[in-house]
Symmetry: C2
Subunit: 495 residues, 2 copies
């Protein structure tokens, strides 16, 4: 039996959205740009069955993939749960069979041997295929038209890690993808396997290394010459898992690390730099400039996730769960194993940041991300279901001028991760659209915001109005029409 | 472009639900009875594209069919818009091409010749097929598993009327269906064609007659020996249609009529009885007892629909749009053309009433319907999006004892039409479940109520929780597992 009524946190706007849905043509307020042609793919998660551990990480929700397809000034919507082996096993049983996030010791005995991934983190299009990713297992391949789940993909048997990152990087100049898996040989293993795939999706190289200690290695950064592997703070071990705990704890005594490996080198060439306590989830971009490597990233000061407890028993400290636009500089000529770090803007931001994807590996001028603008109060009277912090604005950070442009959707809205879409292949950096999903608490619905990325202060160009609350997004990507072939007619709008 | 923002009546809870959706296993509060096995099929409508006439009848919304499938104490949900030719034409154009309800003179010229039905009124299962009905055209056949639209059905060419009622009657003892079409030969025509189909769905008989004047003949009643055809008040004409008006007006000077035809007779045997001003939409049941015919029906005193204007220009009068449980008695031995009418309960009710379907044509003890219990106030503070009257209760009217049992879902809920489900084939009359969809304004979602029909005052047994607002239902039916073959596995729950 499925009953969420005992959990007060899963009510109102936050009650689980447990449906597959399709809208052949969406309602739009404003006018969709005619040159906006392609698909915005979102991935996130919801509890399809209530968690067996009430304090389990929300990172453990069942993956839900959705698409907004744009063409001719019209847009369609489709969303579907990823039919992972876990989802199917729960559905058959009619209840939650899986325990804590990434701790198979806490699962029901009946699902030992069944892949436990929820595949809820990042959509990926590469080599003409659409995937959903979660860093604890292989990609799930998805039919881009029906959103049906085709199954796990191991790159024709060439991908040997048991896990695949949620944040591979695609070189915009070559189409090469750099992917990796950590805990590659099993839970709590120190092994990291790194792969390069050509633009057709074929594995061309593999190399392996071990991390100084097992931690979350959620994202990497890519330059023309180097791959950067950041991690820190989160710890796990087989002992911890056998004790029946959630996979990760936070150890504030642990150094943060960034490994730098030449793209033409291999695992033995990795060089480890060390830094202070940091929670390293996402990166903006990086460049190799002479003998220096520069990384832009919104790392948090400390543990961001309240559901991953501090191992010393101290309470989670929200005042230190803050991220800023940071620049880290690594001197490859120096013998020191430390980096220089600057906070470029004193504004606390969300760490789900984006850049113009054509500038990945290169010097870029603009970073985009959500943040909470304290000068914009939330209308608690009209949007009564608010719970927790509201990301009420998007920002464009200009690294050249230090200027911050802001977009504000209204005082009853909260914003999810933004995504930058270049106006066309030849447009200057930052010329295009900033899009992202907003939760409208007053109307109990979601809206997709489309703003001119160069005119954020003027407000949006259009809003796509959904008649329901869309599930929470973790990450979204923009897919050009030419990236997925075939990506044929889906319902009303064929983008 | 689709934009409903200019219509203040289509906001909040009443904003159009424009999606197809599926939930493989629904959330349930309470416990579903193990003997509740089968499918609740609902039909209603939403505007997929905004109406081209802002004052058009809500009866003109695009048909949306949905199913709740019950088995083993679990339940799944699926809903899909009926892909009528009209729906497809609008989707292709990206806008509303159709004008006023049942007035083809007000349509865009591009859709002349395209069936304009919205097929949004009643689901029907007969002869092993599922249909959606609207009285202005033929049934649309629906795949019971996918809910895909198969297309219009003319009974292998044997059904000659251009229209098919939303309320055919199925004799529970023989499986024979009595169906009819009014305005059978075209808009404003006085022709009524009547058909009998055997339990396999084959046309066995046809007869025809003309009505005294053209009016809404929405429902009929069936006894062992007679068919009753009620109508009255609503008027139309080709002149009216050419003037570009909505199909129906209300003429308070018109008599109401009920035609009684022997089931083994034909059109020339019909006998017309006349009565006072009445708005005759739905019937409960009827019986032939000796030379008398008794009809139970919740007819309204006057025009119920504000969007069908009074032809004398007077404003719509909500105080006269009231229905009661009425008994009408017709003496076939008498030469008089009038009937005797009694109001059996002084409580104003909704006219969407139901009985135990096994008692159709026979004397029945119980009538079920929704009503507004004035002793149960609505919580305007928590359910702030309320607009219009709230049906806040279900009632079981006991025709033997005159007792009224009541079910109340809570002070933030409004109820849609109820449906009675016998506990099993041999259960006594009224032993079973009363189910119906509730709008929960506080949580902005819909809930399916399942109550013990003999214990309404004790509250429901279970609620199926939908994570969204389900579209409004006009009518719903209960389908036993053996009525649709094959009705195979659909997602999680195979009922």
């Amino acid at each position: 039996m499925v009953d969420f009524s005992s959990d007060p946190a899963k009510r109102g706007f936050f009650s689980p959205q447990r449906y597959d849905a399709e809208i052949l043509e969406c309602e739009v307020q404003g006018t969709l740009p005619a040159d906006l042609v392609g698909t915005f793919v979102r991935l996130g998660g919801e509890w399809y069955y209530p968690p067996s551990k009430p304090d389990d990480a929300m990172l453990h929700t069942d993956g839900y993939v959705s698409t907004f397809r744009f063409k001719d000034g019209r847009v369609s919507y489709k969303g579907k749960f990823v039919r992972t082996p876990r989802f199917q096993a729960n559905l058959k049983a009619g209840r939650q069979l899986f325990g804590y996030y990434r701790n198979r010791f806490t699962d029901d005995p009946s699902v030992q041997g069944i892949d436990g991934t929820v595949s809820n983190t990042t959509p990926l299009v590469h080599g003409g295929k659409l995937f959903t990713l979660k860093e604890d297992s292989l990609p799930q391949q998805i039919d881009p038209v029906t959103l049906d789940t085709i199954g796990a993909w191991d790159f024709d048997g060439k991908y040997k890690s048991q896990t695949f990152t949620a944040h591979p990087k695609i070189d915009p100049f070559t189409g090469e993808m750099i992917a990796y898996g950590y805990e590659a040989t099993g839970p709590a293993s120190r092994d990291v396997f790194v792969y390069a795939m050509d633009k057709a999706g074929r594995v061309t190289r593999e190399t392996r290394f071990e991390v100084p200690y097992v931690s979350v290695m959620h994202d990497i950064a890519l330059t023309e010459k180097h791959i950067l592997f950041p991690f820190g703070g989160y710890v796990t071990s087989m002992e911890r898992l056998r004790e029946g705990k959630v996979h990760w704890g936070w150890d504030r005594s642990k150094d943060s690390y960034i490994g730098i490996m030449p793209r033409d080198g291999n695992g033995k060439d990795i060089r480890w730099f060390k830094g202070p306590e940091r929670c390293m989830m996402h990166t903006f971009n990086a460049q190799t400039i002479g003998n220096k490597v520069v990384l832009y990233a919104p790392f948090y000061d400390s543990n961001f996730f309240p559901f991953f407890p501090n191992v010393d028993g101290s309470p989670w400290d929200p005042t230190r769960a803050k991220a800023y636009v940071r620049r880290l500089t690594f001197d490859l000529n120096s013998k020191k194993d430390s980096w220089e770090e600057e906070i470029l803007f004193p504004l606390p931001i969300g760490d789900l940041g984006r850049i113009d994807p054509r500038y990945l590996t290169q010097e870029n001028r603009y970073c985009f991300t959500g943040f909470t603008d304290p000068t914009r109060p939330f209308d608690e009277a009209r949007a009564g279901n608010l719970r927790g912090r509201v990301t009420n604005s998007y920002a464009r950070f200009d690294l050249h001028t230090n200027k911050v442009d802001r977009y504000f959707p209204g005082d009853t809205h909260s914003l999810q991760e933004c995504c930058f879409i270049p106006r066309n292949a030849d447009a200057p950096e930052g010329d295009g659209y900033l899009i992202g999903t907003a939760s409208n608490y007053a109307e109990m619905r979601s809206e997709l915001i489309i703003a001119d990325a160069q005119r954020l202060e003027e407000g949006e160009i259009a809003r796509v109005i959904l008649p329901f609350r869309a599930g929470p997004q973790v990450h979204g990507i923009w897919v050009r029409s030419d990236e997925l072939a075939p990506f044929p007619k889906a319902g009303g709008i064929d983008a």
